[in-house]
Structure formats: structure tokens, C-alpha cells
């Protein structure tokens, strides 16, 4: 059975699948598929769902906010800001909303922490300034 390697890369890390039989994604022109031995190609994926079939016959799904797909030397790599993997599209959508909410919460916490640091820094500078002036 002919297969190819798949690497999914984003800002959180990477996932590699050594034996993929088929990939189905979509760009601005529509849905397309990639099979082993495909010609070298580059595509800009659109927002939405991409899927791939592994050598055990199981489909895996990835939700992507766009990304760059590159296929060469029988290896496929997809680089995206963020991707979410799942084995069932319905569950993936449900998980996506949860994950997004968590990311938002983490971002909000990080912003609050930064604001606190900022305020402390300013207070310290003001203290140093007043001590220096006295």
C-alpha cells in the first residue's frame, strides 16, 4: 500500500503521521485531494475542515484557520497558526468552541498579568524618582 508522510505544524507544536493514504483539503478554488506520489505542489488552505486517511483506514480531521500546504518528495506539510485535530467532525466542532474559550481566557489572564507588571514598574519608577529628587 502506497502512503506518504504528513506533518502538521503550528505555534503550539507539531504532529506527524508516517503513513497517510489520502488527504482532502480545500483552498479558494475548492476541495482537492492528494494521493501518494502526487506532483510537488503548494496551496493556501482556506478556513475550515481538512481530513486525511491513515493506513489503518481511519479518517482524522483537522480544523484550520487557513494555512500553507506543501507537498514534495512524497511528504506533506501543513503550516498553520493553529490547528485542532479530531477523529469525528461533530466532536471536533464542539471541542473547538471549548478550546477557543480556554485560549481567550488564557489570553485575558496574560493581559491582566502584563497590566499588573506594568503598573508595578511605573510605581517603582515613580518611587525611585521621588527618592532621587529628595
Amino acid at each position: 500500500m502506497r502512503t506518504f508522510g504528513l506533518a502538521l505544524l503550528d505555534s503550539h507544536g507539531e504532529n506527524r503521521f508516517a503513513r497517510v493514504r489520502q488527504f482532502v483539503g480545500a483552498d479558494a478554488s475548492g476541495v482537492f485531494g492528494i494521493l501518494p506520489g502526487h506532483e510537488a505542489m503548494v496551496a493556501v488552505l482556506r478556513y475550515g475542515l481538512a481530513r486525511f486517511l491513515d493506513d489503518t483506514g481511519a479518517w482524522h480531521y483537522a480544523a484550520l484557520p487557513g494555512g500553507v500546504l506543501r507537498f514534495s518528495d512524497n511528504a506533506l506539510s501543513i503550516t498553520s497558526v493553529r490547528y485542532f485535530l479530531g477523529d469525528e467532525p461533530g466532536a471536533l466542532v464542539a471541542g473547538l468552541a471549548r478550546e477557543m474559550a480556554r485560549d481567550d481566557s488564557e489570553l485575558s489572564t496574560a493581559r491582566q498579568t502584563l497590566a499588573k507588571i506594568d503598573r508595578s514598574l511605573l510605581r517603582r519608577l515613580a518611587d525611585m524618582n521621588s527618592q532621587g529628587g529628595a
Binding site: A26, R46, Y47, G48, L49, R51, G57, Y61, A63, L64, P65, P89, G90, L92, V93, L96, A97, M100, D103, D104
Partner: protein, 91 residues
């Protein structure tokens, strides 16, 4: 629309499309093509076995159907295996 809202909306749309596609009844052309392929995979080894067996039996002195019967049975087994692999690949 924010980027994360767009991602959820577009992923939901694609998931629905996939689900609709899976639930859509198969077209007649598809059913005929599928059935035809399955039939050919099963029947061709049996017919090939029968012809080959008949030819081998004609080489044997006197009346014989031993090769014909043996190769037909072998053809049935091979055809069933072919059909099984085809069905397994499609599921």
C-alpha cells in the same frame, strides 16, 4: 466576524457538508458501477478457472473433468477473496 468565530462557523459548515454527503442516497450509476465491479471481481477468476481447467482436461487422455472442477472451485475462492478485499477497502 472574529477569526475564531469564523473558524468555528466554517468548520461547522464543512462538518455538515460531510454529514450530508454521507447520508445522501447513492445514485443509480454509482450502484451499478459498484455492483458491476464487485461482480466482475467475483466472476472473472471462476470463468478463467473453468476455461483453463477445460483446456488442461482436454490434454488428458480419456474423459476428465478433474481440472475443470478443481479450477472452478479455486476460482470461486479467489473471487470471494477479491470481493472481500474490495468491500473491505470501500468500508
Amino acid at each position: 466576524m472574529r477569526d475564531d468565530e469564523k473558524l468555528i462557523a466554517d468548520t461547522l459548515r464543512d462538518a455538515r457538508r460531510l454529514q450530508e454527503k454521507a447520508q445522501r442516497p447513492a445514485a443509480w450509476v454509482g450502484i451499478m458501477f459498484y455492483g458491476g465491479t464487485l461482480g466482475l471481481l467475483f466472476v472473472v477468476p471462476i470463468i478463467a478457472g473453468a476455461y483453463l481447467g477445460r483446456w488442461l482436461d482436454s490434454l488428458v487422455a480419456g474423459y476428465s473433468v478433474r481440472w475443470t472442477m478443481s479450477l472452478i472451485v479455486l476460482g470461486i475462492a479467489l473471487g470471494a477473496y477479491n470481493a472481500y478485499r474490495f468491500l473491505k477497502g470501500k468500508s
